[in-house]
Symmetry: C2
């Protein structure tokens, strides 16, 4: 009996793309404004551990590396070809790579199915070439791959920070934005894969792969439509790690734009909603939620129950947090009497002991610790809202029970503390609403 869907790409096939021993950049360039230069430079600057060969018939060398006129001229074994040449040349180039033993290709070049019937034909030829050569291909029309754990930055911009989230994106820009936010916050990613037109490797292959990848805790996906529905469903069903998905094309015109962009059926949103519910996929409603939910799910444990204590230096922020908690199924439960009594003894008299617990504007980091110690055993989570420039915040936050950190209104002190928190692997959220919304996904 034939399989009901194409099988997943093997781990070995995908490792040639994400953990190659050597790389050829076909279409490497000496012109700094060209992607063929930028990607080649990023590979070098990120510190790729093997050999990187530029291929360009017109240049003797690029950035100090001897240049070859074609893949056949490279004297060493090449695992991965990064291809940045005009679309009409790509299929043949893949065939030549295949005959040289290259195992995988990342095709950056656009000009394929996204441009119309001619491009579709070229994309079919690309697929044929890949199948004949038994090569795994990412793209075409994509922003490449970045695995900072290898490191392999066959993408742009150059980002080298390692983290626990695998970012899989049909849109290069959406992926790059997530990468950049993570990098700015010193969080990083496990791997970024820009899928592009998905001529060969698709989102299901990657869910299946990253579900087994030891560097990946959470899988964040931006998608416009599923490529092969039963294969996607099977990948999601098997995946034991949290999946966060932002599905674009929810409205009729958005769906039409998605179908035009990806040349595939985007499908009715209700169908996606049903699937996401069935398989406990965390649905993000916008780009920031995709980022926030992935961050919470990667760095924080799951909640054992809904009981939430909110501790704050900012009464207003705590009210905003309470609203979102109540709307998302968390329980801002009463502070037990004995805890309240104990806290009234140890905290300054002007603190407002309740839930939310307001330490008021002259809160110190130490007061937060006192509250956590007194209340820990009565709550499933404690949201700590630092709403002023409170130094030392990152020194008083632990992990039991779950402690969710929100930091705002603290200017330079806040920016320093956020990085200190992140270096300890404790995520910080920028507003009460975003923090509590993310927390609710740990329920």
């Amino acid at each position: 009996m034939p399989s009901p869907f194409p099988s997943f790409k093997s781990k070995e096939a995908l490792q040639a793309l994400f953990r190659p021993s050597s790389v050829a950049v076909i279409g490497a360039s000496t012109a700094p404004e060209k992607l063929g230069y930028q990607i080649f430079k990023n590979l070098l600057d990120a510190g790729f551990p093997g050999k990187v060969h530029p291929i360009n018939p017109k240049a003797p060398e690029i950035l100090g590396c001897p240049c070859y006129s074609n893949i056949d001229a490279v004297p060493d074994q090449v695992d991965l070809a990064v291809i940045i040449i005009p679309a009409p040349l790509v299929a043949d180039t893949i065939r030549r790579c295949g005959s040289r033993g290259v195992k995988g290709a990342i095709v950056i070049s656009g000009g394929f199915s996204e441009t119309g019937p001619e491009g579709e034909v070229m994309q079919e030829q690309l697929v044929e070439a890949a199948q004949e050569s038994k090569m795994a291909v990412i793209g075409p029309n994509c922003q490449g791959v970045n695995n900072p754990h290898h490191p392999l930055c066959a993408s742009w911009p150059l980002l080298t920070r390692r983290g626990p989230v695998a970012v899989i994106s049909q849109s290069g820009t959406v992926g790059a934005a997530l990468m950049d936010w993570a990098s700015q916050e010193e969080l990083g990613v496990s791997t970024f894969v820009s899928l592009g037109n998905r001529a060969d490797v698709d989102e299901a292959d990657l869910i299946h792969y990253f579900a087994q990848d030891p560097n990946t805790e959470t899988i964040a996906i931006y998608m416009e439509g599923v490529k092969v529905a039963p294969k996607f469903l099977e990948a999601v069903r098997q995946c034991q790690k949290p999946l966060v998905i932002l599905k674009a094309g929810r409205t009729p015109k958005g769906r039409k734009a998605a179908e035009s962009h990806t040349r595939s059926l985007a499908g009715r949103d209700e169908v996606y909603e049903g699937v996401f519910r069935q398989f406990s996929v965390h649905r993000a409603n916008d780009l920031e939620q995709l980022y926030d939910f992935s961050k919470a799910l990667s760095y924080l444990p799951r909640l054992k129950g809904p009981r939430l204590l909110i501790v704050t230096s900012s009464g207003g922020s705590a009210i905003l947090a309470t609203d979102v908690a109540e709307m998302t199924g968390l329980d801002v439960a009463s502070l037990p009497d004995q805890v309240a009594q104990r806290l009234r003894e140890v905290l300054p008299k002007h603190c407002i002991v309740g839930n939310p617990l307001d330490l008021t504007g002259d809160a110190t980091a130490q007061m937060y610790r006192q509250v956590v110690e007194a209340a820990a055993s009565h709550f499933d989570a404690i949201a700590l809202i630092f709403g002023d420039p409170i130094p030392g915040a990152s020194e008083v936050v632990g992990r039991d029970p779950l402690q969710l950190v929100i930091y705002l209104g603290g200017a330079e002190v806040e920016r320093q503390e956020r990085l200190l928190f992140h270096r300890k692997g404790i995520p910080v959220f920028p507003t009460p609403e975003r923090g509590i919304q993310a927390l609710s996904h740990l329920l």
Copy 2:
């Protein structure tokens, strides 16, 4: 017939608070960790144009300024007293200030109605003292006032950037967060007022004042509850400038927290919703919306109609934008045939000419300008999504028709371009969803 509500504070009374000629800081301190030091230093560092007198009986001088033991000892006329001393001393101090001709006071000190019955009594005494002395009082229990246009930074942290948004906040932290975001983006505010307990000056006085303030284009308000309902309604009714309001305490527990925080009735959310609709108040659902909507309403003109063209280098971002546009009443209308034809002639062949119009990943700033020129007369707004590191973006964006800029996935180039845009007074939004959501408030 008596007025149905307390009258608004006069312009002169509030100018003593926002544009004083001289300031005394009562409770100025020599200890850098104390607010009495930080606020005094911020006044100096922001460049307050008049005299600033520290009042502290124990210090001979603070930061090089001669210190006085009390307000009576100050030889010059003082317009504004900033008060940071224990609550039990505040009412008497206000009375002494009044008899010395001081016109306004900002009471930073906490320990009043927010702490319980004893504090409530002290707050009543404070109000009596202010009324007897005919002084306008902001606070108590507040984070002060910052008017970078004067400049007067009687608040913290030190922020000096001028902008068109007046920020009025019952929460010091919420206001400080907005101020800090604006400052980081080089946008600034017209004035920041932390209202605190609103013993005297309330949100209605400030709406009334900033509606006439020449430096203010838009009024952004964070509130937990209205102090005097008919006065608030009258202020909102009279205000001709855009009002953006984030009202916390929407859920039962959030409302309870709000009532405890502000010691006033927060009121049912449906009532606020009705009032906001009636008076075309822009309701923000979270802190980022409060910021985004105010930014759009300050820097961009109102839309003449819903017809929106989306131009992008990132197909995915454009789909996300299309979804939000469709959900918020904007119309991602078809590109007229003659415009499409013209653009197919001038743009590279691989660009996808439609709406959204996808310039694809190798878009240049110049291509965006070509699209705007060809399509300008057919749309009410053009959303320009720069979804890659596209240098020169800030040089090609104009104001006719309305051009909404979204920039993401551009790393360092994006950060540079954002500041260049902002220096030209063109606001930049960080995601397609946030940008289009804000745009819909210009309808």
